[in-house]
Every structure is written in C-alpha cells, then in structure tokens.
C-alpha cells in the first residue's frame, strides 16, 4: 500500500540495501555461466580464461564446418518441431479434459499428465532405452521424439489449462445454446480462445526438446541431437565449440520463449475469444 512511507518506521535502510545487493549477487551467479559462454564463444583461446584473447569467429567456423554438427542440428530441429506439435496436441486434449470433465480416476489421469518431468532423466533415459529397444524402436530419431513427448506434453497441458481457466465457463454452454454442436463449439469457441496458449505451448515444448540431452543421449543411438553432440564435446574436451553451439541454441530458445511470451501475454490478456475465423 504505502511502502515508501512505512519504510521510515518499520523498515531498515541498511537491511533493504543488503537484500538488494543479495538479489544482484544471486542473479550474477545465475547469469555468470550464461554470459561467460557468450563472451568466450567469440574468443580465440583454446583454453578460455581471462585476460581475454582476441576476437575470433573460429569456434563458429569450426562448428559450422563440422558435418556432424549439421546432422545434429537437423535432427534437433526435426525432433523439436515434431515433439512440439504432438506434445501440444496431447497437452491440449488433456487440458480440455481437465477443464470440462469430471470422472472416476481423474486424479490418476492428471498424475499421468503431469508427473513425467519430475522423474530424473537418467532413470527415464534408462527405462526408455530398455523398453524401446525391446519393442525395436530405439536408436533413431523416432525414439527421441517418443521420449521427449512424454516429458513435454505436461508443459503444454499446464500452459493451455491455465488459459482455459481464464475462460468464462458459460462460454461453451452459450455456444451450444445457440445451436453449435460440441465439435462446432470446440472449433469456433474453445480453440480460438486457447489459440495464444496453443502457440505458446508449441514454442515452449520445442524449446524444452531443443535443450534436453540426457534422455536423448540414452535413446538416440547414432542419430544424435545437438545437445547430445555437446555432451560428446564435453567428454572429448574439444571444448570452446560448446560455447558457440550454446550461444546459438540460447538465441534460438530465447526467440521461441519470447515469441511464446508475446503470444501468452499480448493477445492472451484479452479476456475474450479471438474471432479471427
């Protein structure tokens, strides 16, 4: 209410300043590795440290000249886009189910829809590897897609569910009342309303898939995605390339996230269904 005025009696300037400094330190810790990776991706040194060497694009060139990296990037993009589409479709269905229906065993349904990301990736990776190789689906891009959809669908579900909860619960019923069938109401009311969240979920799940390396490492076999390639570099100590790839992936992911953010807050903020049909 009146933080500034109350400050004079119930707050202590020294404490406030110390806390602000602490916030800055916290963010410094979080962003130090991100910033360093960015800076050193343009640095010539083989073993990066300070003082900085001279500006150089050699690591980008090295990465760009590596056919395996290109292969990895193609795999990543293919996997990411496919995962995004499937996970968003599944997540939408689950979000709508939770929004609209009550049924016996719904708790179990929701648990299945939300728990996977909390299982450690090593365990999930191992389980996927063992299971998928048993049913002869391991060692290719398809196996990565299957595994990534499992952990991405919950994110899509959460994002779209949040949007649906902002919808007037009578909206759908009103559409029925005006003669729309369930399918028509879905197409003309629910989907347009949830559209920003659907695209948001699409981009977020793509970004999650782009960054996931552990499960992909277990199940991908020879069809390595880019993050798995990075894991390989990390083992092989041919390191500064990681910075170049990391910066590239960061820029890509952030573009997707910001796009999602714009969609979720920009048009999403309006509390009525978009009527672009």
């Amino acid at each position: 209410m009146s933080d500034k005025d109350t400050a004079s009696i119930n707050r202590n300037r020294a404490v406030d300043v110390a806390l602000l400094v602490y916030i800055v330190l916290g963010y410094a810790f979080v962003f130090a590795p991100i910033a360093a990776s960015f800076v050193f991706s343009f640095n010539s040194d083989r073993f990066p440290s300070i003082p900085l060497g001279h500006f150089s694009l050699e690591w980008y060139q090295a990465v760009a000249g590596d056919p395996l990296v290109w292969q990895g990037l193609r795999n990543t993009l293919f996997v990411g886009v496919t995962v995004g589409v499937i996970a968003t479709a599944l997540g939408f269905g689950a979000a709508y189910t939770d929004y609209r229906y009550r049924f016996f065993g719904k708790q179990v349904y929701l648990a299945l829809a939300l728990i996977p990301p909390t299982i450690p990736v090593v365990i999930l990776g191992l389980a996927m590897l063992a299971y998928l190789s048993r049913i002869s689906l391991s060692g290719n891009a398809l196996s990565v897609i299957i595994a990534h959809v499992v952990i991405c669908a919950p994110f899509a579900m959460a994002i779209i569910r949040l949007r649906l909860s902002q919808m007037d619960p009578d909206l759908e019923a009103a559409a029925w009342n005006l003669g729309a069938s369930e399918w028509a109401a879905m197409r003309h009311v629910i989907v347009p309303f949830a559209k920003p969240a659907i695209f948001g979920a699409l981009f977020i799940t793509m970004a999650v898939s782009f960054d996931e390396f552990a499960i992909a490492w277990f199940v991908s076999g020879l069809n390595e995605t880019l993050p798995v390639k990075v894991l390989g570099f990390l083992q092989g100590q041919v390191s500064p390339r990681i910075n170049a790839i990391g910066t590239f992936v960061f820029v890509t992911s952030m573009t997707l996230v910001i796009l999602a953010q714009i969609l979720l807050t920009g048009r999403g903020a309006k509390d009525r269904p978009a009527s672009d049909e």
Binding site: I23, F47, P48, L126, S253
Partner: protein, 281 residues
C-alpha cells in the same frame, strides 16, 4: 458439467492417456521386470531371478555411491534453499511490482539455456588457470584446485536448482497475506523474528516443495558430478550411465534406477507429509 465421456470427449482425453501409458508407465514397469532378468554371455534374457538385486545390494561400492548421492542431494537442497531464500524474500517484499515481474522473467531464462553449456562454462571459471584462479592471483592467492571437487559439484547442483527454487519460493511468498505480517509486527514481533515466526511458516508448503525439487534434481543429475566433480566420488547417476553405456548390464542399472525411484518416492512422501503437517485444509 457432469456428462459421461462421449466419443467427442474421448477424442481429446485418450491420446495423452494412451501415450503416457505406452511410453511412460510401460517403460517404468518394464524397468521392474528388467531388474529380474539375467545376463548370460553378454546377452540379456527374460528371467525371474533376484541375482541383480543381490549382486548390487551386496556391493560396498553401491552403498557408498548411495550414501554419497543422498548426502550430496540433501546438502544441495538445504544449501540452495538457504541461499535462495533471502533472494526470493527480497524479490517478494522489497521490489516494486514492475521490478518483481522483471526478476521473475530473468529467473525463467536459465531454463532455456543448455545446462550442459552452463556446466562447461563453470569449467572455464573453476579450472586451474580459470577465471577464478586468475582473479585470486591478482590479490596474491592461490591457485587452488577448484575443479573436480565436491564443491564444484555443489556449484553445478546450484546452477541446476537455484532458479527453480527461487521461483517456487517466490510463488509461495508473494501470496502471503500481508496483514499477517502487520499483525505479527503489531503483536511485538520484530523484523527478523517475523521472518521465522510468520513468513516461513506461512510459506512452508512452497519452501518444502522447492527443497524437494532441488533434492530430486540433484539426486538424479549426472552432469555435475562428472564434469565438475570429476566423477569422484561416484554417484548413483554415474553408476547408471556407466553400467548402461558400457556392456549389457542393463538389469543391474535397472536395480539402481528402481532404488533411486524408491528413495525419491519415500523422500517426496515424507516432504509432503511434513509440508502439510498440522493442516486440515
């Protein structure tokens, strides 16, 4: 809206259910079956034999790794909770609304940067001729061995968990009824004391859940212990990756994985019990 599931409804409900049963539940169930299989001449065969459990549980190295992993994850979750709390506290109570939403936005960014890249970046900071040692050298200290230590593993765990823990703590702190804090002050509770007597109890559920997530993430992470901790001491996750990727000892890896899941379930259950202790809502 209470309606029976129709074809229409099933079209939306079923796909996720089918997918998660096929590719989430089945793999985990298969993991259980796998742990009873046997390996003969480097080939796995379906079986129902407790030999893998007996072998793994009979090894000192397994229990050592278990103890190490548990201790490291517990230490990480306590450490990150303690370090994150002043930060989330300050963000929720000392920042303006605008500054707070920026703070939240910035804290989300790390989720979309590669954890691997950040871990590699810490190598740049911590190696013998790395940034930290160079800076220490300026003031006449060091060089110290920073990389390949337990401390470096901890930094990795913090990198992994700090943003999530701050966000989860923040989420429970911003919803605290401000009048409770006023009421505490009004009843002679000083600033610092209010933090412990009112704010922490009010946010307990969120704080415990945040610590739980930190534990789960650290417990399962294999990147930091290998690439920052140097693989020594061995953790369960390292044991799993080694056992899986070298040779056909998947059934034994399954034993480790199932032990981890059991542990995590127990910890999660205890944490949730503790979080809601004494609450009837």
């Amino acid at each position: 809206m209470r309606r029976p599931l129709s074809l229409y409804g099933l079209t939306f409900s079923l796909p996720l259910l089918v997918w998660q049963v096929l590719f989430f539940v089945f793999p985990l169930v298969f993991l259980v079956a796998l742990s009873f299989w046997t390996v003969k001449n480097f080939r796995m065969q379906p079986d129902f034999d407790g030999v893998n459990w007996a072998t793994m549980y009979g090894r000192a190295v397994f229990w050592q790794a278990y103890g190490t992993t548990f201790a490291l994850a517990a230490a990480a979750s306590v450490l990150v909770s303690v370090l994150a709390f002043p930060c989330s506290y300050a963000i929720s109570f000392k920042l303006s609304d605008t500054a707070r939403s920026w703070a939240v936005f910035l804290m989300v960014i790390p989720f979309f940067t590669s954890y691997l890249v950040r871990v590699y970046s810490w190598q740049i900071f911590l190696s013998d001729a790395g940034i930290v040692n160079v800076m220490l050298g300026w003031v006449g200290l060091g060089p110290y061995t920073l990389l390949n230590t337990v401390g470096a593993t901890m930094i990795g765990y913090l990198t992994l968990t700090f943003p999530l823990v701050v966000l989860l703590q923040l989420f429970s702190l911003v919803f605290i009824d401000r009048t409770l804090i006023e009421a505490a002050h009004n009843l002679r509770c000083g600033r610092l004391r209010t933090v412990f007597a009112v704010i922490i109890p009010s946010a307990r559920v969120g704080l415990v859940i945040a610590a739980l997530f930190a534990f789960i993430l650290s417990f399962g992470d294999f990147v930091s212990p290998i690439y920052l901790g140097g693989g020594d001491p061995t953790t369960l996750s390292i044991l799993i990756t080694d056992t899986t990727k070298s040779g056909q000892q998947w059934p034994r890896a399954a034993v480790i994985a199932l032990t981890m899941i059991g542990t995590l379930l127990a910890v999660a259950f205890a944490a949730v019990r503790f979080a809601y202790k004494g609450r009837t809502k």
